[in-house]
């Protein structure tokens, strides 16, 4: 296979940036998208050119490091998959592929396709935890938890912090990410105790980081590689109202 790439190149945060065209041929359809970029980069390196900066680590859809905006979609054309889980068989021979970084004020570009997502860490730091010190815990079976609650909590907890929801949202809102954590912990007895402060603190931090507000477009859910459901945002809203009423 052969594909034509239009790749966003930006030397550093203050550089204006531009698209650069590349042609890559000799592609095997079983290659992953990132392996295709490896092939291109190794070619650029051998020619003494600067390779395209993109980030990745696990290459199996769980660490949340990768994240490319491919043909106008975060993580590209495959539903419920991260960029590293996209394979070249999902593209047509001769296709033109546009590759951009996540675009959001709260995610400044570091270089080319790499953005700074540390805002997510600071949101978790504001309240995305249970305040329990090591050694304080009672027996793991002391509090039975209905299977249904545990699996819903689990589903929310599978968020990988990739930021695709932000990139997909016209407001660049981080609401799905925040809701996933709020809902994960609110559904468990261990997390209920701090539910009120948590939702308020995390939302405040989200705003301070420069993420937009949520207008319920649902674009985030559609593009989330882990299928984090909008239900979690509804739950966040209920938690928020409860917390406000309690103030």
């Amino acid at each position: 296979m052969k594909v034509y790439l239009k790749v966003w190149r930006q030397r550093h945060a203050r550089d204006a940036g531009r698209f650069v065209d590349y042609t890559v041929d000799g592609i095997n359809p079983d290659m992953s998208f990132l392996e295709m970029l490896d092939v291109l980069n190794n070619r650029l390196i051998s020619q003494g050119e600067d390779p395209i900066a993109f980030d990745h680590d696990c290459r199996e859809g769980i660490c949340g490091t990768c994240g490319l905006y491919i043909n106008g979609r975060p993580h590209g054309p495959v539903a419920r998959a991260t960029t590293c889980q996209v394979h070249m068989r999902h593209f047509k021979d001769g296709e033109t592929i546009v590759i951009e970084p996540w675009r959001a004020d709260a995610f400044p570009v570091i270089k080319d396709l790499v953005v700074d997502r540390s805002a997510f860490d600071r949101i978790i730091q504001a309240g995305g935890f249970v305040s329990v010190n090591t050694g304080q815990a009672p027996d793991g079976n002391a509090i039975p938890i209905p299977k249904e609650d545990a699996s819903k909590a689990f589903d929310a907890a599978t968020c990988i912090g990739c930021g695709a929801c932000v990139a997909a949202c016209k407001n660049a809102s981080a609401m799905l990410f925040v809701a996933a954590k709020v809902a994960h912990l609110a559904r468990l007895p261990q997390g209920r105790i701090e539910a009120r402060e948590r939702v308020l603190n995390m939302l405040t931090q989200m705003e301070e980081e420069g993420f937009g507000g949520c207008t319920n477009t649902g674009a985030c859910e559609a593009e989330c590689p882990k299928a984090i459901s909008l239900e979690n945002i509804a739950l966040l809203n209920r938690e928020f109202i409860k917390a406000k009423c309690a103030l």
Binding site: D57, R89, A137, P144
Partner: protein
């Protein structure tokens, strides 16, 4: 030049004595403590935010130490532990199936083929139950039964169900628990986070670990960080093989740099090849994907009885299939330990019975499980793994068996530590996969997560106090000290050297060649001739690297190729030590299978009279013969027998 020399002094693991079930309790009662007021004056650096690092950093900060924590990912939540799938062991006996601390201890020592320390392993089994409690309290959503209680499954090498899990994403859920505990401390100001920072050297002052040199991966700047103690939780070195199930950035640099500064390296040749991974599909392949061992609970492994059988797997009738694990090991069947399962797969493929386009694969079949439990139940248990498989191979494992083959997965070897988890450099502690401690020559499934969290939550926070108690009057470490000066200079010189080569060959190309060499000669089976050959090839490849590696760009920017080049340079040096270690260990044990030492039916032949020791290697210089220090292993509770899973 001699390959290595042997020290005549025995190395002491400083394990407590007395009845094994009392050792840890008595040890805790006898080691020194640091008062809360003094903890405030002490700084600790933790490098790594995987299960070991995040749990250690959180627990130390909770105790009141000033913690600085480093990782090279852009967020601590992305450490490689996030990818662990199958589960975590704990001796809770919630299943009432006869499990106990002693049994977990025994299984682990036996599973490790009698090459681990009894005292350490017993402690690991002892604290395992606390880990589950802690994680549940943090909100880790483990799988539950309908009654609301925690569910368990079984893993290879054992006959009880003691593995706690969260679908196929156990590592993710445990790591997020530890990460959140850490971020809580960052929010309180008790821990300071340095993401996107890579440790490039250890600073040793007057024989004590006192700090690190780190590179800010975004700006490229070198930074000096001082502390009263340094804890390395930097993971394993499986990526020396290039292709492995590890995340792409996993590397040995932190451990290797500490080794060069005086920390002994324990059992470097003990590597684990995992039996169930998605096979290599082409020469562009950048990594291998694990299919969790938990699949062997319900999946059955087989190859056709006929060589080059052209039929689709679903068309091959039952009596023409060779369920070779069930045939060879009736007692454990598909749940034999990893080393045994991997070698058996290699044996069948080498004999010509392999399947798939490359013929280097075997089938892992769920059709019986689907008949027995129904598709929905299989989906509930393994759904996300099946999805991963389908995304990669474009085949539907509900309809046709998976194709799997062994791949490099875990490294039992690592920096040598004593019972307190301290390396041979005072003040340098090592936790998690980065140390060599608990798994001997083969790790049982679901035991790495257990060990990482045991070290970080429940062992190190106690044992580090014993060392820091001497330091309560020590002032803040001054990073203007000449040792920092020297370390920073040597890091800078190395970076400049890498950038000055300006060759033509990309780092990946050289790394791939090194990996292939290690896979061929220091992989699933080894022999003296091959290892000697590998040593020659490694030297040649290393020469080629320093003559022709292409590292574009500068050191003052985000530069992935520069990061990779530094890591691969260290892998060359480690590879040499792995081969020397494999060559010197003239026996087969666990993951280390020396072809010269096998029984008539091809099982590993241990030589306890000669090799019942930990091999801890001292660095003496680049391409100089290392010195072997032996720590004798004494078995008082688990008497070494031939490991049989028949």
């Amino acid at each position: 030049m001699k390959l290595f020399s042997i020290s005549d002094k025995k190395l002491d693991g400083k394990c407590p004595t007395g009845p094994i079930e009392k050792r840890w309790t008595q040890h805790k009662a006898s080691i020194r403590l640091v008062s809360p007021a003094n903890k405030r004056r002490l700084d600790v650096i933790v490098v790594g935010t995987g299960l070991a690092g995040a749990s250690a950093a959180a627990a130390l900060a909770e105790l009141g130490y000033n913690v600085k924590v480093f990782c090279y990912q852009d967020s601590p939540r992305r450490a490689h532990s996030i990818a662990a799938q199958g589960g975590i062991n704990a001796a809770k006996n919630y299943m009432n199936d006869g499990d106990s601390v002693f049994r977990l201890f025994y299984d682990t020592v036996k599973g490790g083929d009698y090459r681990a320390r009894e005292s350490n392993v017993y402690r690991l089994a002892e604290v395992s139950a606390n880990i589950i409690d802690q994680c549940v309290a943090q909100g880790v959503p483990f799988a539950r039964e309908y009654g609301g209680y925690l569910d368990n499954r079984s893993f290879g090498g054992v006959q009880v169900s003691r593995t706690f899990y969260a679908k196929g994403q156990t590592g993710q859920q445990l790591l997020l628990g530890a990460y959140q505990a850490l971020m809580r401390q960052v929010g309180r100001g008790q821990a300071k986070l340095y993401s996107s920072h890579e440790m490039l050297d250890l600073v040793v002052i007057d024989g004590k670990a006192r700090g690190i040199i780190a590179r800010n991966l975004i700006t490229g700047e070198l930074e000096r960080h001082g502390a009263h103690a340094v804890v390395l939780c930097t993971g394993g070195y499986g990526n020396v093989f290039f292709l492995s199930t590890n995340a792409k950035n996993c590397n040995v640099t932190a451990a290797w740099r500490a080794h060069r500064r005086g920390a002994f390296f324990g059992n470097p040749c003990f590597t684990q090849i995992h039996p169930t991974c998605i096979p290599v599909s082409g020469d562009y392949q950048s990594k291998l994907t694990l299919m969790s061992e938990s699949l062997r609970n319900d999946g059955r492994i087989w190859v056709p009885k006929r060589k080059d059988d052209p039929r689709k797997p679903t068309e091959i009738p039952e009596d023409e299939r060779d369920y070779y694990l069930e045939r060879r090991y009736p007692a454990f069947g598909n749940l034999v330990p990893r080393d045994v399962a991997s070698r058996a797969a290699k044996e069948r493929c080498d004999a010509g019975y392999g399947v798939g386009p490359s013929k280097m694969a075997v089938y892992l079949d769920f059709s019986d499980a689907i008949k027995r439990m129904g598709r929905a139940a299989v989906e509930a248990k393994y759904g996300n793994l099946f999805e991963i498989y389908q995304l990669i191979t474009d085949e539907n494992p509900y309809e046709t068996p998976m194709r799997i083959y062994p791949a490099v997965h875990y490294t039992m070897g690592g920096l040598w530590v004593d019972y307190n988890l301290m390396s041979t450099i005072p003040g340098l502690y090592v936790c998690g996969e980065a140390n060599f401690s608990d798994h001997g020559a083969n790790r049982l499934g679901a035991s790495a997560l257990m060990q990482g969290l045991a070290d970080g939550y429940f062992v190190l926070p106690y044992t580090i106090g014993d060392y820091l108690a001497d330091d309560i009057r020590a002032p803040k470490i001054d990073t203007r000290h000449e040792a920092f000066e020297e370390a920073e200079k040597s890091v800078l010189e190395r970076i400049e050297k890498l950038l000055s080569v300006r060759g033509k060959t990309p780092v990946d190309v050289l790394h791939r060649k090194l990996g292939l060499t290690m896979w061929d000669y220091c992989g699933m089976s080894r022999n003296a001739e091959g290892l000697e050959k590998a040593l020659k090839i490694i030297d040649e490849l290393e020469n080629e690297f320093w003559k022709d590696v292409a590292v574009p760009g500068t050191d003052k920017e985000w530069n992935k190729e520069l990061e990779k080049a530094g890591r691969v340079a260290d892998f060359f040096e480690l590879a040499r030590l792995m081969c020397i270690d494999a060559l010197h260990r003239e026996e087969s044990c666990g993951g280390h299978f020396r072809e010269e030492y096998q029984t008539e039916d091809g099982e590993a032949l241990r030589r306890d009279d000669l090799f019942s020791y930990v091999a801890a290697w001292e660095y003496t210089g680049h391409r100089q013969s290392p010195v072997l220090h032996k720590e004798d292993l004494i078995f008082e509770y688990c008497k070494p027998t031939t490991r049989s899973y028949k």
